[in-house]
Subunit: 682 residues, 2 copies
């Protein structure tokens, strides 16, 4: 008798060949057991799939604790309920281990280690649907696949039934979905049970100290997912409808895949912020040569309008004049900014421009603005004009001009467009987040890529990581930007705004917040709204450049303000927008945070810390610094009496020599912050 003990892979299955998401009719060895388990690469998380009486379900646990209790999966089609009456026709499993490099980003290298489980289902109608799970040590992606098949060709999804059943009534930070204004709201902090319908990303903290985020990845030709509270800790996916009376959510044709539904699970805020599973769940770059894609900072004609000093429309106060643009070009060139944004340059801003959705021109300038002249002038000074495309939600109008306009821009040498979709709904009645607009936003990204153009989208579709596939999709809004401080009737963005959004909206991707307003009291603002101001301190406003990641960061303030504040302005000039590493050193959602990031193009590190309306003092250790290297820490700190409400402008700049065994005292005034450049010596 010979007995051979081996350590083996236990499961059956396997055998599919598609490397990414393009082939969706993978065949696996037949295995029909109703339960399958998937352990993440290092065993941090475990997924349990189970077909329960014909209903596909999943659970997720971390160690002994369930993160997600048994949750149903499926969709309802117009002609079939694909959320029950399934049988299993097979499973596939595989693992993947890779590292890829972001052409730009908050980190340079991203590791993609995951285990994948494909569940091949057959509905009693004969329709086949697959559920794909990708399990990382820090989260889960779930996607539906409808392979090419005789039983399904064109189909319509009326609702998605994906559930996320929480293990408890967690602390949650969320935005209400299905209300106008494109994610430009303050986060609500509440128990999960108080959620109505939440936009994603939706952030939670468990009593065990886990940080969860629910979102989606690779939203390509589908409708955006929100999460509706079904009671008893159950959240369920809901999709934005087509607004044409059909109730359709998604119109599709096999082979077809859904976006990935994602659950991030991290033990600390650093892990949460550095969780890149959504980028990993997007396909690799389709742009082979990315050398023309350059992160950077820009200035321009924008804050003027928010302060009512200039106008988008024509007339005496028209901002976008050739002359004023040249002033900005000179300023940008002098201080090393990569671009000058000029809004209100084209025809049709006059009158109520939000009603001009069908009239905007994307090639014709106002008479007082010579586009070609300013573009030439900028290029001669070594900077660029950032083209502004405000659609006013006129999608048909924009799409009818886009080829000609982008050809023209490319011809001019313009490499960046800031686009806008101002309006509560799209002009033809669609939601910004329905399948119609998902398709549009994606189309513009692809057209821009063809024309060598980077995009900064305002009033955007939410970020689901497509910058991995289209790295010309640089940054976007989709949150309350700086302009709310200029005119918002609710007083603007409170001090806890930035310490919140780093852990909510920012989890989805870069945010063009347009920071850098140094005239915090907005002396330049119009008389009618004297209470509006920036609710921060100078140090806090500088820190935003590090805390909020954007590959294109604006320095939003006016030229004379930068000239009046040379000390903080130096930090704005110094701070990079492309990073090698990012680390959260300390933080509490909605209260404070200290972030450090390492410049991708030097050995320098930068630190940004911000706090809510409470002053804070704590010590961080600088062990993130390279071992054995000395740094000159150039510290921009709140002055001893600084206070965002009464003395926001008290800034202290000082230096000290530090290394990786040093500590640094973070000292923040009420509503203040701290910004540090760790300048490598050698």
């Amino acid at each position: 008798m010979s007995t051979l003990f081996r350590f083996v892979s236990i499961f059956l299955l396997i055998g599919f060949t598609s490397c990414l998401n393009t082939k969706i009719d993978r065949m696996a060895k037949k295995a029909t057991s109703p339960v399958q388990l998937l352990d993440s690469p290092s065993g941090q998380l475990q997924l349990i799939f189970e077909l329960k009486s014909g209903v596909p379900t999943y659970r997720l646990n971390k160690g002994p604790e369930f993160v997600i209790l048994s949750s149903d999966l499926g969709v309802v089609l117009e002609d079939e309920d694909l959320s029950k009456n399934f049988e299993i026709i097979g499973y596939g499993k595989r693992d993947s281990s890779s590292t890829w490099t972001q052409p730009w980003g908050e980190v340079k290298e991203i590791v993609d280690n995951h285990q994948e489980l494909a569940v091949y289902l057959k509905h009693d109608s004969g329709k086949r649907m697959n559920v794909i799970f990708r399990l990382y040590d820090t989260g889960l992606g779930i996607r539906y696949e409808w392979p090419d098949q005789e039983a399904m060709n064109e189909f319509v999804i009326m609702e998605e039934k994906t559930e996320f059943v929480l293990a408890d009534d967690h602390d949650s930070w969320w935005l209400q979905a299905y209300i106008p204004n494109r994610y430009e709201h303050l986060n609500i902090a509440s128990k999960a049970s108080e959620i109505d319908t939440a936009a994603t990303p939706l952030t939670m903290k468990t009593d065990n100290g886990l940080y969860l985020s629910f979102h989606e990845a690779a939203l390509t030709d589908y409708s955006s997912m929100s999460l509706i509270n079904r009671g008893e800790n159950k959240l369920q996916a809901t999709l934005f409808p087509w607004m044409d009376g059909t109730g359709h959510k998604v119109r599709a044709k096999t082979p077809f895949v859904s976006p990935w539904r994602t659950i991030k699970v991290n033990e600390d805020l650093d892990g949460l912020v550095n969780n890149y599973i959504e980028l990993n769940l997007n396909e690799p770059s389709k742009i082979e040569d990315t050398s023309w894609i350059e992160p950077g900072k820009y200035v321009g004609i924008w804050w003027d309008m928010h302060l009512n000093r200039k106008t988008w429309h024509s007339g005496d106060k028209h901002g976008a004049t050739t002359e004023y643009t040249k002033e900005w070009i000179d300023f940008a060139a002098k201080h090393g900014f990569n671009g000058v944004l000029v809004e209100g340059w084209n025809e049709t801003w006059d009158g109520d421009w939000t009603k001009n959705a069908d009239q905007f021109s994307f090639t014709e300038s106002y008479p007082d603005y010579d586009l070609e002249e300013v573009v030439d002038y900028a290029q001669s000074k070594g900077t660029n004009i950032i083209m502004h495309n405000e659609t006013s939600t006129g999608i048909e109008n924009y799409e009818s001009q886009i080829d000609d306009a982008f050809d023209y821009y490319q011809q001019l040498g313009i490499n960046t467009i800031k686009s806008g979709y101002v309006g509560d709904m799209i002009a033809n009645g669609q939601w910004h987040h329905g399948q119609y607009m998902v398709r549009h936003y994606r189309k513009v990204v692809e057209k821009a890529a063809e024309h060598g153009i980077m995009l900064d989208v305002h009033e955007p579709i939410k970020d689901t990581g497509i910058r991995r596939t289209w790295p010309n999709m640089m940054t976007r809004e989709g949150a309350r930007g700086q302009e709310y401080n200029a005119w918002s009737g609710d007083g603007g963005n409170p001090p806890n705004y930035v310490p919140t959004i780093l852990f909510t909206r920012m989890l989805s991707g870069p945010f063009d917040y347009t920071p850098g307003v140094l005239d915090l009291l907005l002396k330049d603002n119009e008389e009618g709204r004297p209470k509006n101001r920036v609710h921060s301190t100078l140090a806090g406003e500088l820190a935003v450049y590090v805390v909020i990641y954007s590959p294109l960061h604006m320095a939003a303030d006016l030229i004379h303000n930068y000239e009046n504040y040379p000390i903080p302005f130096q930090f704005i000039k110094d701070v990079p927008t492309d990073w090698e590493y990012t680390k959260v050193l300390a933080g509490e959602i909605g209260k404070h945070v200290t972030v450090v990031r390492k410049d991708r193009n030097s050995d320098d590190w930068y630190l940004g810390a911000v706090t809510d309306e409470n002053a804070r003092e704590y010590v961080v250790d600088l062990s993130f610094l390279d071992d054995g290297k000395e740094y000159e820490a150039i510290i921009y700190s709140d002055g001893p009496a600084a206070d965002y409400e009464v003395r926001p402008l008290l800034l202290i700049k000082y230096g000290q020599i530090v290394n990786s065994v040093s500590t640094l005292k973070i000292n923040m005034a009420r509503g203040g912050g701290m910004a540090v450049r760790f300048k490598a010596r050698n």
Copy 2:
């Protein structure tokens, strides 16, 4: 970016080294997820372990169907409830693939391919308990381990909580537990819901056509398990108690293991009968040289007493006389039988011997029986005396003499003991199946092995496969033997008895049924019970030698009957008791069965078919025969008018030449059968 796809083993764990069950404190890589999955080697079965709110549970499925729904595990100790409040401290997994050879048996080679999952649990009291699952393609073994630990030394199990929750109310064949008479009852066929408390093995058939058997393996120092019906398809283990008022079920000391609880799952009756997981779950042979262990057939002084022609006790009709024994020795020698059993040879059968538990001698003969003389005579004729040890349940008495007695037997050259434990309870009040007797039965096996003695135990502990470890443990009773036909007030064993027990009692191991009574009408029986008879036909009685497996088979009838029936007696002489292969060609539990077995020592095959009170006719194909070989089929068939009630003796013997592409018509009278020798032609 390089992406590497590999197929890998997913789970964590692993890393224990014990090859079998002796080391029970294996350490595994820490993994604390509450759910683990185990797929059987070819994926036929899947085990799902889950710690549910501190309670260890398991499920078992075959393909898409659950065989066992969520079932709790655990035991209740005298001082602690080890069925809840557990946490997981780790898992271990390993697989094993081996083949081993039975020194004798129903098949020669047994494949042992399994996957093992060890679940390391810690109770909130600090006590550690492991649950070990061994999963085969055809069944599951579950065992508890209590490793050596400071928190546990000596302990008492008050009850076991192992559950088996059925997926449906299956058809069941079972014996009532906790009633006297040592498994000597007819099986009850009912729905599972009608089970009260069932002895094991317990057989079921599902609506999907799966055959299930619930039993245990390696019952070494524990109490026997029965299954109590808790309603709603839930069976729960229950253990025979110590009968001393303590309520103790098991007295133990760490390190300690329970027997394996087994669930066999097969798609057909051939698989069920050839399911050897219980042998696999026993440890390999402890007897290195097994050459002295020889299967065979025996005759002897036994049926005489059941017919009241002779007596066990002394007097005129005393069976065990030197003279009568020599007649049997001559008969055995003439016809090639390996042994002659002589019952009633020793002192103390006089009076009501069932009350003489403390008086039996195991070395002292009645005056009319010269043990040494008959032993010498037998050996001189090339056969052996089979020693008879009736304990009358006097365990202390037996154990006090056993060393001397076995020494004496060994000295005489006796190689086989038939032992007996007649009594409803053991003389000291214990159950035959409690831990006290488990220890005793095992002790006798070990002592016999030391003395080169094979055992045939009547009124035994149930078989749990220890013949693998102690291959001198040949066969046993533990069912209604032939003697019930002689005197049972209920008329004896009905025709459906053998077609039932092959799929119930026989699943646990060999059965010394003592077949071969050719005087089916029992003309020799005493006048007072003329209705008693064998409820079969001659062909059916012959078939029992093939259908019922026993390495020691008796030819039970009297010498003159064998002389009167030379044709059927030839089959009894021919049929072997050691097999290379066993196959069930056709069958239905309790109705009929056709079994073929291949002689281990020749190329011959043998077929046995039996039916219940219904005549049956069907064709089997002979593809089991070796390809390209010709066989002379010597067929013993019921005559055209045969009927077990009115014409049981109508036997036809005929021959035909067949090969592996031939078919054979099985033609059985009411209560009849068929026996075939396929004699290989060269």
